[in-house]
């Protein structure tokens, strides 16, 4: 029977390993996951890993070294479908906040000095789609259990995942929370991809934007709203950029009436 199961590989590049851990955090479903699919490679969970042909590769983390660049190219060659899991893979994550190459180089030198790395060359941190074609994106920091399980379920049956195309604000309204922006608290719910269930606002705390920017969101409106509430241009842009990695670059340029 085993040959009929989809061959799946779970890979971790640079990041916190939270998306791989979240898969192991599906405690009730873990045995079923291992039975439903043929997990060929999952370094965090098993030692008998095989790097062969795959039906689906789930890739966490950003590409931050030459070794990882080669690895992600190899994964693409071997896998029919590649899914980016987590914001590091989707947008580069926190480590991709230095958008310009020279800015990244300067900061790299501040941390590592002039040392020449002998094991693998460092690269300016980027999402995996900077190097390969990605079929599906599952954002989150980390990914959400329900969303992962529904995505996994659809993928192992050969169906495309159904991802949320609305912001955290929508989930927040479902939960009937009071709007924090109305109280003058800088919340990124209107511009951040949904899927977390508005967890921070449920705890009376503002959305920090950890699922990355939503493509359809109105950044101009959020920017001017925060300006009206008394926040500075610098503060707003930094806040929007904390978790968005390269995902924010497109939007910062599009904000009408903002300083360039």
């Amino acid at each position: 029977m085993k040959k009929d199961k989809l061959k799946i590989g779970i890979y971790e590049l640079t990041g916190c390993a939270g998306d791989a851990l979240l898969i192991l955090d599906c405690e009730k479903e873990l045995v079923d996951i291992f039975q439903a699919a043929d997990i060929q490679s999952f370094l965090m969970a098993k030692s008998d890993n095989i790097d062969g042909e795959l039906d689906v590769a789930l890739v966490e983390g950003s590409v931050s070294t030459e070794k990882e660049r080669k690895e992600v190219l190899d994964i693409r060659k071997r896998a029919k479908v590649v899914v980016a899991i987590g914001i590091c893979s989707c947008f580069g994550g926190i480590q991709a906040a230095f958008l310009k190459e020279n800015e990244w180089e300067k900061n790299f030198k501040e941390v590592y000095g002039k040392i020449k790395m002998t094991h693998t060359k460092p690269l300016h941190s980027k999402p995996i789609d900077a190097y390969i074609k990605v079929d599906y994106y599952l954002p989150g920091c980390p990914i959400d259990k329900e969303q992962f399980l529904s995505t996994f379920n659809r993928i192992i049956r050969g169906n495309p995942p159904e991802l949320y195309r609305f912001p955290v604000c929508v989930e927040c309204k479902w939960n009937e929370n009071d709007c924090l922006l109305n109280k003058g608290i800088p919340c990124l719910g209107p511009v951040t991809a949904a899927g977390c269930g508005a967890v921070c606002i449920n705890h009376n705390l503002p959305c920090v934007g950890c699922w990355g920017p939503l493509a359809e969101a109105n950044f101009t409106s959020e920017y001017h709203l925060l300006k009206e509430k008394g926040f500075t241009d610098d503060f707003i842009k930094k806040k929007m950029g904390n978790f968005s990695g390269t995902g924010i670059a497109d939007f910062l340029g599009k904000i009408k009436g903002a300083k360039r």
Partner: protein
């Protein structure tokens, strides 16, 4: 001269490898390399608000996200002279214990035990240890449940903030956690027996130096104003740079630190070695055996 090279260490968090050089019967060099790329968190935290830094630093690591949050909150509150009431301290201890239960259930049963009993992973191990695998998964979920209740979610919960929490758990939630913890105690004690009965390879090595926080009032715990070393030395937290004097090596993106030129070890094993005598209750030091360090922290 012979070299043993392991490119990918399996069943650990993150990407690492080991290269050992052996000359005859002597190991002459061991290089532990972290292949994971540079993240520059040291620089990402600059120019941000204290709240933003507390959001960012837990992203260093998912398994110990709460520890990073806890340490960052204590550091920020120290810098800003913010005092937290005892209720907040207790809830922080609770969220951190949740992490310990989750992390140690994961490490002992899922990451470590398969090696000792000869299986490639914990799910395959269920063929021989079905009950242990099942209950350990339940205990791991219990740890995650505590983190979700106190910190907001399993991984990278934002509920703990400078000065306190966004929202406190209800009394019912706390009572449920208490009753569930009592239910797990027999399994925890069985786990101690199981791990004490394993065959551990004898590794002749230099005496390890251990460093951990020194909790107040002679308590066993995770946080404190001082650092206690297995040499008997005590450092004030303000002297932390004597211990975290980071330097870079060319074969790893993880930085290194030495104390007086010597390596030291931190974490569960350090706590048990340095503070073990302070442990109370059933899983105390009488049952201690090699490798039981992680378990005793449960």
């Amino acid at each position: 001269m012979k070299k043993i090279k392991i490119d990918h260490l399996a069943r650990v968090e993150g990407n690492g490898g080991v290269i050992a050089t052996i000359d005859g019967r002597a190991v002459t060099d061991v290089k532990f390399a972290i292949y994971e790329g540079p993240r520059l968190v040291e620089r990402l935290t600059l120019g941000k608000t204290p709240e933003e830094d507390v959001n960012i630093v837990p992203r260093i690591c998912a398994i110990c996200t709460v520890s990073h949050k806890y340490a960052a909150l204590r550091a920020m509150e120290n810098a800003l002279s913010v005092n937290v009431p005892p209720k907040v301290s207790l809830f922080r201890e609770l969220m951190h214990l949740g992490e310990m239960i989750e992390s140690h259930s994961l490490h002992t049963y899922y990451l470590a035990l398969p090696d000792y009993v000869g299986f490639p992973n914990a799910i395959a191990m269920a063929a021989q240890f079905s009950l242990e695998v099942k209950i350990a998964l339940e205990m791991k979920e219990f740890g995650n449940h505590i983190m979700k209740t106190a910190a907001g979610r399993y991984i990278h919960g934002e509920n703990p903030v400078i000065g306190g929490f966004g929202k406190f758990p209800s009394k019912d939630e706390l009572l449920w956690i208490k009753s569930r913890a009592i239910q797990f105690m027999p399994f925890v004690l069985k786990t101690v027996d199981l791990f004490c009965g394993l065959d551990y390879p004898l590794v002749p090595e230099e005496k390890t130096m251990y460093a951990c926080c020194n909790p107040e009032k002679n308590q066993y715990g995770f946080a404190g104003e001082e650092i206690l070393l297995s040499t008997g030395e005590i450092l004030s937290k303000d002297d932390y740079k004597k211990l975290t004097n980071e330097f870079v090596v060319s074969h790893s993106y993880a930085k290194r630190s030495r104390y007086k030129g010597k390596p030291y070890s931190v974490g569960a094993l350090a706590r048990v070695n340095n503070l073990g005598e302070r442990l109370k209750g059933e899983p105390s030091l009488q049952q201690r055996g090699p490798g039981a360090g992680n378990l005793l922290c449960l």
